[in-house]
């Protein structure tokens, strides 16, 4: 234990100063507006090397923190070409992370604006070729979006054909390789999404609890949206 003098030894003005400073600090911070969600203006993306430098070489952590940073932006005012630059830098930082492609396919492509959705889908398509055996699930989802949301069957078939032609691993399921048939079949979006998610879950492709929760919510939202339409 530290050898201390009694509390009464502290002069009264020091007590008062301490209390006043503490009260002023709490009042100041309490009156401050809560932190604004990231402004609509997304800054230009730095290079992967610059991000690595900023993170002192912690590439996997930097990649995931960048994704959390991007998530804080409001989707409606987002500059998609810049956003894709950010996602590209993140993917370059940690090529084995699924986060950038997951976000591109499941979040940024699922917006009502078709032009922006196409930008996100093309990002998934372009990046698919760097590692087809690992990145096919996002392109499969992109094919579904192209068909059901954009109503662009040729685009959906292009994505499906890419999966068929470029995946080599035995781990890629048959239904994914035969995605083109799946696209051409007359099935609604919910049915297709259920088949795809069911297949992924069955094969243990989705083992992250946050991802499973997110996809379940998306499926439920889709179900409700289609019921409303009917």
């Amino acid at each position: 234990m530290r050898d201390e003098r009694r509390l009464s030894e502290v002069p009264r003005w020091v007590w008062a100063l301490l209390a006043a400073a503490a009260a002023a600090q709490i009042a100041w911070q309490g009156a401050r507006q809560p932190g604004q969600p990231a402004a609509a203006e997304l800054p230009g993306a730095p290079s992967a090397a610059a991000l690595e430098l900023a993170a002192f070489g912690e590439r996997p952590l930097a990649a995931r923190l960048v994704m959390l940073y991007l998530q804080a932006f409001d989707l409606s005012g987002l500059d998609y070409p810049r956003l894709m630059d950010w996602l590209g830098a993140t993917l370059e930082l940690d090529p084995r992370s699924e986060y950038p492609l997951f976000a591109a396919a499941r979040v940024y492509a699922e917006v009502p604006d078709a032009a922006r959705s196409r930008i996100a889908l093309e990002f998934v398509y372009e990046r698919f070729f760097a590692d087809p055996d690992r990145r096919w699930p996002w392109l499969a989802h992109a094919a579904l979006i192209a068909k059901h949301r954009l109503g662009d069957l040729p685009l959906a078939r292009r994505y499906a054909q890419a999966i068929d032609r470029h995946t080599r691993s035995r781990d890629v399921p048959l239904w994914a390789r035969q995605m083109e048939i799946f696209i051409l079949e007359d099935m609604d979006e919910l049915e297709a999404a259920k088949i795809m998610l069911g297949g992924l879950l069955e094969r243990g492709e989705i083992d992250d609890p946050a991802e499973a929760r997110f996809l379940q919510q998306r499926l439920q939202a889709l179900e409700e949206r289609l019921q409303e339409k009917r």
């Binding site: 002192f56 590439r59 952590l61 998530q71 992370s97 986060y99 976000a103 499941r106 992250d208």
Partner: protein
């Protein structure tokens, strides 16, 4: 053995100075941060937890060791305890290396504790390789902090020099990549800057090649690459110990 007694004294000082409590507090802080961030993530929540834990614990281990070594060495210098010890019939190298062994033991203990905390998230083999690498990295930082504390004989400059060396060693790979980037102008000045960066890299250990989070998240390094990375740390540690001994032998107290 006098060297072992000196090493034990360093360990006792670290324990009494509250290093174990500090380590426990940093573990708690890292776990809380990882839990918070993974709640915000929409995918890869477990790998985010692991990446945060690994990065925070690695930085904590290095900072704690650097601060402990610098503070302990300078306390001894300022209290004239070192002068008293030097009056004993012991070689100066025994004094220096005994202390270094004690600090290295601290580094190994911290690395072992922090590695155990990662076991629920990563396979034991990967955690073991990461832990051994962290122990070597922290031991190298202990050697650097002892060298700077003895040489500079001031707390803030010693910690700043150790931190500077460590951060530069971790970033030098990225700095070299930026200097050699395709968009860099091909002027004489740029070439000179590139050569200067390459020259600095020759004087640094490659800390960006060790204790990698990728080993925990994805796959283990090959045996050759792992041995090469740790071998380069051992070599640099030897260089720091030799430089420290050289300075310690020349010094008048």
């Amino acid at each position: 053995m006098p060297g072992a007694i000196l090493a034990r004294l360093c360990l006792v000082e670290a324990r009494r100075g509250g290093l174990p409590w500090l380590a426990a507090a940093s573990l708690l802080a890292a776990l809380s941060l990882a839990a918070f961030l993974s709640e915000v993530a929409i995918t890869e929540s477990r790998s985010l937890q692991l990446a945060v834990l690994a990065a925070v614990l690695r930085a904590s281990a290095v900072f704690f060791i650097a601060a402990q070594v610098a503070a302990s060495t300078l306390r001894e210098l300022n209290d004239k305890g070192l002068e008293l010890m030097l009056s004993l019939p012991l070689a100066r190298s025994t004094h220096y290396l005994g202390r270094l062994a004690g600090f290295v033991a601290c580094a190994v203990a911290l690395a072992a504790l922090f590695s155990l905390a990662l076991l629920p998230w990563a396979p034991p083999g990967a955690v073991a390789l990461w832990g051994v690498s962290l122990a070597c990295e922290a031991a190298l930082v202990a050697a650097a902090a002892l060298f700077f504390a003895m040489t500079l004989a001031q707390l803030v400059p010693a910690i700043a020099a150790t931190a500077g060396l460590y951060l530069l060693a971790r970033s030098i790979g990225a700095i070299q990549a930026i200097a050699a980037g395709p968009l860099a102008e091909a002027s004489a000045l740029n070439r000179l800057a590139g050569l200067a960066v390459d020259g600095v890299a020759l004087l640094l250990p490659r800390l960006d090649a060790v204790t990698r989070t990728e080993w925990l998240l994805y796959e283990l390094p090959s045996a050759g690459a792992y041995a090469l990375a740790l071998g380069s740390l051992a070599l640099y540690g030897l260089l720091l110990a030799a430089a420290g001994l050289f300075d310690f032998h020349r010094r008048n107290f």
